[in-house]
């Protein structure tokens, strides 16, 4: 057994060297194992991971959007409720104010009425008093006039009653 190095020989163009085939197999196997381990699987994993990350991000974004949408709806509802509440408060206040207004008005009217009534009574009283005064005066004057006219003393009591009667008749006429 001996080696012959750097021969000048060439193989046939259509080679039949099975050693070459075995060597090709070995090379293919080694290449397969190494390329798969060093390149194909890492690249595939990297792509898959990136894809997964992107998918996650999208899913996350969709979820967040959903949550935001829900928040928005909740806020809108709250806002609407607040509006309604303020409306209610306003209406209530209005109602109360109206009631108060009526009350005040009524009281004022009552008071006015009372005052007027009192004033009327006062006037009536005053009228009566004035009338009496006038009556006294007029009857006095009449007696005086009559006594001076007749020239004699007149029974004051009788005439007074007569005159009073006359005046009250006048009062009725007026």
């Amino acid at each position: 057994m001996r080696f012959e190095v750097f021969t000048d020989e060439f193989e046939a163009l259509i080679g039949t060297n099975f050693w070459t085939m075995i060597f090709a197999w070995v090379n293919l196997l080694i290449l397969y194992l190494f390329l798969r381990k060093l390149l194909f699987n890492p690249v595939k994993n990297m792509i898959d991971n990136r894809q997964k990350e992107i998918d996650d991000m999208y899913a996350d974004a969709a979820e967040k959007e959903k949550a935001a949408e829900a928040d928005k709806a909740a806020y809108a509802k709250k806002l609407r409720l607040a509006g309604e509440e303020s409306e209610n408060i306003r209406k209530q206040a209005q109602r109360e104010a109206l009631l108060k207004e009526e009350e005040i008005l009524k009281e004022a009217q009552d008071q006015a009425q009372r005052t007027r009534k009192r004033a009327e009574e006062e006037i009536e009283r005053e009228k009566k008093r004035a009338l009496n005064e006038i009556k006294d005066e007029v009857s006095g004057m009449a007696i005086e006039i009559a006594s001076s006219l007749i020239g004699r003393d007149v029974k004051e009591e009788e005439h007074r009653a007569m005159i009073d009667d006359f005046i009250s008749h006048m009062d009725e006429k007026s």
Partner: protein, 260 residues
């Protein structure tokens, strides 16, 4: 005109004589090229695979795109259930491309210009087909498959089974070797053209004139015969592997039902 490499195979570097009459060619140009291709690819894979990032560099984008595209072709051709073969087929593809292109260095000989290399790969394809056939149908069922559709067809089926790796191997080998042979022929023709064009010169000067037409023109031809043909043949070889192995391992019944 020396076209001495035209009809030759790989140069024998180390020959092992087992006895006085029997020898094996232990190391040839092809084995050296195979070794160089393997080391180159492993180093490339190492340096690219080492620096993978979530935010890829340009090179990584290119590599990812390439691998994704190739895996996509494998998936389209073989189906999702055969994706375990994708790394192997991509390995064959890369071996073939680099093996063909290494011939362009003019230092190494294309590995695929050696029939035994491509025959080895083609036999692996056949072996994978047989493995899938036996796995899916059992050994007897697989043998019975050769008698279908009728028993008379058995010899034809056996011949086609034998012809499959041979045709695959010779197709690839023939294209690459043919390209090489053509390139050699064109170089010779261009050298002759130099002689023809400058034939009016005295012979003493003519022998000193370099073959000027050999500059430039072969480069364009090389783009087709080496670069383009190298890729196409690698692709064809991978595609045939996908088709053969894929048809030996059809998709499971429920998956077919689902698709229909």
């Amino acid at each position: 005109m020396d076209d001495l490499e035209l009809g030759n195979g790989a140069k024998v570097y180390v020959k092992l004589w087992l006895n006085d009459h029997f020898s094996i060619n232990l190391v040839t140009q092809t084995t050296v090229s195979l070794f160089v291709v393997t080391v180159t690819l492993i180093l490339l894979a190492f340096f690219i695979g080492r620096n993978l990032k979530k935010r890829p560099s340009r090179l990584q984008v290119l590599v990812e795109k390439g691998i994704t595209a190739f895996y996509g072709i494998v998936e389209d051709t073989m189906g999702k259930h055969n994706m375990k073969y994708a790394p192997y087929i991509l390995t064959v593809f890369l071996s073939s491309v680099f093996g063909s292109l290494i011939g362009m260095t003019q230092i190494f000989r294309s590995t695929t210009a050696d029939l035994m290399v491509v025959m080895g790969w083609a036999l692996v394809t056949s072996a994978l087909c047989w493995y899938e056939g036996i796995k899916n149908n059992g050994f007897l069922g697989w043998l019975k498959g050769y008698t279908e559709p009728i028993a008379v067809m058995t010899p034809m089926n056996v011949i086609s089974e034998v012809a499959q790796p041979i045709s695959m191997a010779f197709r690839h080998f023939g294209n690459v070797t043919g390209g090489g042979v053509l390139t050699t022929l064109i170089y010779a023709a261009l050298a002759a053209l130099t002689h023809v064009v400058f034939c009016w010169l005295p012979p003493q000067i003519l022998s000193w004139i370099p073959p000027v037409f050999q500059i430039g023109i072969p480069a364009f031809l090389s783009i087709y015969f080496d670069l383009f043909s190298g890729f196409v043949q690698a692709f064809v070889f991978s595609l045939l592997t996908m088709v053969y192995v894929g048809s030996a391992n059809p998709p499971p019944a429920e998956e077919t039902a689902k698709n229909n």
